[in-house]
């Protein structure tokens, strides 16, 4: 099998807030009855994290679960593990109505790292990013500039942003430009 490449192949815009394409990440979209034990437990066993509540993401290293909608969850894992994971899902949910699709290549993952990462995000997304409202563990699907995106916080100073592969360059450049423009000085630590 030929080596796969991520959308921006690790593109980097260093600065006080650094924008970094995080490379390949395994992703599976799973749709089904998420109140059911079946999908919840296969999600947990594949990622090792608790099943997320509404509007939350539980991410640990490369693995994690993001709450996408009442009947959709996004599984994160190393890129190479997706094939086995899909097989495991099929085995576990064989008798149930569900849909599981590999979407690793359909997406780009971009990290926004640095002191005023919150403000870089707030320049582009119509979301309340005040530290008292949005923090690590929260997950939001919204728009970034003019494209759909989803994001969560890896820690106080780092956002992980997912967008479609075709607009990865647009999203990256927008984030890089916003980072380069500097801090607003609004979300002051306190």
């Amino acid at each position: 099998m030929s080596d796969a490449v991520s959308a921006l192949q690790g593109k980097l815009a260093p600065g006080e807030v650094t924008i970094r394409e995080a490379g390949l990440r395994g992703m599976i979209t799973l749709r089904g009855d998420l109140s059911d034990r079946g999908p919840r437990s296969v999600c947990k066993s594949l990622t090792g994290v608790a099943f997320p509540e509404q509007g939350k993401a539980n991410v640990d290293g490369e693995k994690g679960l993001c709450w996408m909608s009442p009947d959709e969850v996004l599984l994160l894992m190393p890129y190479g593990e997706v094939g086995d994971a899909l097989a495991a899902i099929e085995k576990a949910l064989k008798s149930k109505h569900y849909l599981a699709e590999k979407v690793s290549d359909a997406r780009a993952l971009i990290h926004v790292e640095g002191a005023f990462a919150r403000e870089v995000m707030a320049k582009l997304a119509p979301v309340d990013l005040h530290p008292g409202t949005f923090g690590p563990g929260d997950f939001r699907r919204t728009r970034l500039g003019q494209v759909a995106a989803a994001f969560w916080m890896r820690d106080e100073d780092t956002f992980a942003v997912i967008c479609f592969r075709s607009v990865a360059e647009y999203a990256f450049d927008l984030l890089a430009e916003s980072a380069k423009a500097g801090a607003v000085g609004h979300f002051v630590e306190g």
Partner: protein
């Protein structure tokens, strides 16, 4: 610019995250319907000044369609609710009655 509460993901979404889908509670007419019924279904809309029921999709968010009861002149939102219903639920109707006594819309009041 409106804010509507998405009943599916719990987000108070900006209008820019939403897509408007026209009037709610249309009854689909398929083969076998009369010309008048089909015309009603395709083209005839309430277009009220005041209480209105609408379809919205949280398109940049969870992707779900939901329904909203809203005043078209003041933009007051009486409530948002599941799209998987054929008529406005009682709690929504009560919420409207509390604010707009005597309201009517289509066959509802």
């Amino acid at each position: 610019m409106l804010i509507l509460h998405c009943p599916y993901c719990g987000v108070d979404a900006d209008e820019t995250d939403l897509h408007a889908g026209g009037e709610a509670h249309l009854k689909r007419q398929g083969p076998g319907s009369s010309d008048a019924q089909f015309e009603d279904y395709l083209f005839m809309r309430e277009n009220p000044k005041g209480v209105h029921f609408e379809r919205w999709r949280h398109v940049y968010g969870c992707g779900k369609w939901f329904l909203a009861a809203r005043c078209t002149s003041t933009l007051e939102v009486f409530g948002t609710y599941s799209a998987q219903t054929t008529e406005p639920p009682q709690d929504i109707k009560d919420a409207i009655s509390a604010k707009r006594p005597g309201w009517t819309w289509g066959n509802y009041s």
